[in-house]
Amino acid sequence: MDFWSVTQSLLQGFGVTCLIFIITLIFSLPLGLVISFGSMSKFKPLSAITKVFVWVIRGIPLMLQVFIVYYMIKINGKNLWGEVNRFFYFELGWAVGPPELNGEGYGGLIAVLIAFIINYACYFSEIFRGGIESVSKGQYEAGKVLGMTKNQIFNKVVLLQVIKRILAPMGNEIITLVKDTALSNSIGILEIIMVSKTFTSKAIWPLFYSGAFYLIFVGILTLLFGYLEKKLKFFKE
């Protein structure tokens, strides 16, 4: 168990961590926008349903949601996630880490992703809603009297102001997501912490080592958000 083999294993686990992070972001950002439009809808039933949904998802621990998505489909006799994994593994030849440590492999991963995407979309939707609602009515009205279409007002006038306002809370939430990916090991996904745990019978330092991966990742994100905030400093409302 030398440094390089540990590094190699941890990198593999970190790849899974990054995969969960990126796929969750890619899908939850647009979904969050859709949900925020739903909760701001003038059609009362829609906004009410959306708000209740967001309340439920934000009110229940993410780990429980992961379990629910994972086991819900297991209960009906057949293990759907196992089937999914078999498809990926045998048909496509893709595997997440060594199969014996892999839970349901891609199946479990997809369960995690579904739970994460829905959960984060709800958090993002609240941030989006706050940002969109904080843009003054005057901006919309100015756009209207200047003959702009609704889309033009949103894209050309409102959007950048919203982005500027939500940058800080989005930064926080996205950094939380990096660390939340660890929850996936509760259903046996081989993300970096799960991998580092396999070494603990022999040594404890791989745990610290895996922490360093997170620190570097979060550090890069912090720099990125700092950069974006600086980029948008050129205007103030």
């Binding site: 005057g138 009205e141 100015a142 200047l146 003959g147 279409t149 609704k150 950048l160 102001q161 103030k236």
Partner: protein
């Protein structure tokens, strides 16, 4: 001959009737000031004229065209509303400049966004009324768009000269004083060349020493025969710039007339007490 004609505008918010039948005619090139105490419905009237609010009943004609007949139609679709709105310009009390655009882009943004539609119409026209080949039409449309862009840019710079802010063309609104912001907002409204330009207390949000520069710009527009409706609390300004002054009280036009008639010869009790209140405040 009346250029803008408003007949019996009524507007309620819930149980509160804010406009109780407003009749108003404005000739081309005329400047009309609207004065009146807070809550009398001045802003609501401007918002109805600009289609930000839909009047419950009444009619509006501009240049012999019926823009609004509240009794007849249901709702206008977005496109119709936009076309109707473009007849008017509105300068807000709080400027509402777009913070992320610099001064020149604040002015050119809206006209630039209109190009696409104009180009579409131009293309359609070419297709049905000319013998040009597809390729030639494509070229003509591209040229049309390029020309428009140049025109809009030049027009924007020209407007900046008239408001005396050409040296600020690359500044952002947050770098300007309130008076400068309001001048840019006026230029932004002018960039679409509205038939009637409306102002809602354009100097109310400004420090007293900054109002002069804004009022000067508005006065210069009068020289150019721009038709304007100005809601204002600046009585001195209303007196000097207006062809007609309208005094609103409780959602009605209580009195209207030349500045002389209104300020030197008020007839109704409400106007008299309104004017004396203001004198007391000023003195």
């Amino acid at each position: 001959m009346a250029y803008l004609e408003i007949k019996d505008f009524q507007k309620s918010f819930g149980n509160l009737q804010v406009l109780k039948g407003i009749n108003l005619t404005i000739n081309k090139g005329e400047v009309v000031s609207i004065i009146g105490s807070s809550g009398s419905g001045k802003t609501t009237l401007l918002r109805c004229i600009n289609f930000l609010e839909k009047a419950d009943s009444g009619e509006m004609l501009l240049d012999n065209e019926v823009l609004l007949d509240a009794s007849k139609e249901g709702k206008y679709n977005e496109k119709e509303l936009r076309e109707k709105r473009l007849n008017f310009g509105l300068v807000f009390q709080s400027f509402n400049l777009f913070p992320q655009y610099n001064v020149i882009n604040n002015i050119t943004l809206a006209p630039t966004l209109l190009i696409k539609e104009q180009a579409k119409a131009y293309k359609k026209d070419l297709i049905s009324n000319s013998e040009l080949t597809k390729k030639e039409i494509k070229k003509a449309v591209a040229e049309f768009i390029a020309n428009k862009k140049v025109q809009i840019q030049e027009n924007g710079l020209e407007l900046l000269k008239t408001i005396d802010l050409i040296d600020k063309k690359d500044s952002y609104p947050c770098e300007l004083s309130g008076g400068q912001c309001q001048r840019v907002a006026i230029a932004r409204a002018l960039a679409l060349n509205p038939k009637v330009l409306c102002f809602d207390e354009p100097t109310s949000a400004l420090d007293p020493e900054l109002t002069g520069e804004v009022l000067k710009v508005i006065k210069s527009l009068k020289q150019k025969d721009r038709t304007m409706i100005i809601v204002t609390h600046e009585m001195g300004f209303a007196k000097s710039v207006s062809d007609k002054v309208i005094f609103m009280a409780d959602g009605c036009i209580e009195e209207e007339g030349t500045p002389d008639q209104i300020f030197s010869n008020p007839k109704s009790e409400k106007l008299k007490s309104f004017l004396s209140n203001i004198d007391n405040k000023d003195g």
